[in-house]
């Protein structure tokens, strides 16, 4: 189990454990399990929250847990945070047309915030499934190579077996072909 954790964390471990508070946030599986995928119109997301006030507890937890997920799923959206500027916490989304969307986040828990943002400006589950299926269809199943499950042409049915287990037939070897050419010349 610790081997997989080390791989997921990039090897940054100490005494068999990952470093930091809630280090599960630093794993690729956690980042890929993010729910919010923004629509193409959203360009900037700005988060205003307070560090010590009770009204922005949900916002603080959202920034701690879910903001890296949001950035991982939307690498082209600029995510900006501001601390302790206003008494009330809020999110603001800047869209492509110049339109702005204000979201009040006071006294809300992080799960409610995630649901609300996904409902307003997130892609629905149907759209995400369609994107996944289209990506799978574009990948050719007949491919082989270091990036795909079949590493060598010898694994494919109907091709020659691996040269490490069985010798090639004589006619296909380079030595034999060169020898024949030399004999034909002289």
């Amino acid at each position: 189990m610790w081997l997989t954790l080390a791989k997921l964390s990039g090897g940054v471990m100490f005494k068999g454990r990952m470093l930091g508070k809630y280090p599960i946030r630093r794993t690729r599986t956690f980042l890929e399990s993010g729910e919010i995928v923004f629509k193409d119109r959203v360009k900037i997301m700005s988060v205003n929250y307070n560090v010590f006030e009770k009204n922005s507890e949900g916002a603080r937890e959202f920034v701690f847990f879910h903001l890296p997920q949001v950035q991982y799923k939307n690498p082209e959206v600029q995510v900006v945070t501001f601390k302790n500027l206003t008494p009330s916490p809020f999110f603001k989304f800047y869209l492509d047309d110049g339109e702005q969307v204000l979201v009040d986040v006071e006294y809300k828990s992080r799960q409610e915030i995630v649901k609300h943002v996904k409902k307003i400006l997130g892609k629905t589950d149907k759209e995400l499934e369609e994107i996944e299926t289209s990506q799978q269809q574009s990948i050719n199943i007949a491919n082989f190579g270091p990036r795909w499950p079949r590493k060598c042409i010898c694994e494919i049915e109907g091709q020659l077996p691996c040269s490490s287990s069985e010798d090639f037939p004589k006619e296909l070897r380079g030595k034999y072909q060169m020898k024949k050419r030399m004999e034909e010349r002289y």
Binding site: P75, Q78, T86, S88
Partner: protein, 161 residues
Amino acid sequence: MPVGRNWPKLLKAWNPQWVIGRVIGVRLEQVAKVKCVKMVLDPYIVTYFGKPRTFYAHDPEKKCTMGDVVLLKALPEPAPTTPHPSTHEISEFVHQVGRIYDPIRGQRCEGTALLPPTKHKLPVEPPKGRPYREIPAPERSPYEKILPDTEYYRNKDMHKS
């Protein structure tokens, strides 16, 4: 194991249409230097770090001070200013220094406290940058239309409950 961390190449390829940034430089004549931060994933540690890049914004009317948070929009062609051609223009002031408004309450605030209506003035000492008398007076913020000044006293302790 070598890890791909080519930050300069990544930042040079970042030319967005809309950016938010903070004003750093104000001494150039028709140009404001704006620092914008992009969150980038470090692939080994798997955390996000902010990498900065400066954009040059075209403001001939000299509306901004040092430290303003500004929304930039990309110009279709870079304006021919000296010494740097400015690629963006200022479309909106998100937070101005000394004049921050709470959009939900609709009033001016300082930190986590609302200001009474009598104190809606500029601070005495301006921060680094041009003095306030050179900057044109601001228009009324759109958030002030949500609540009038009299609502301050009713909403003063709303967040403390």
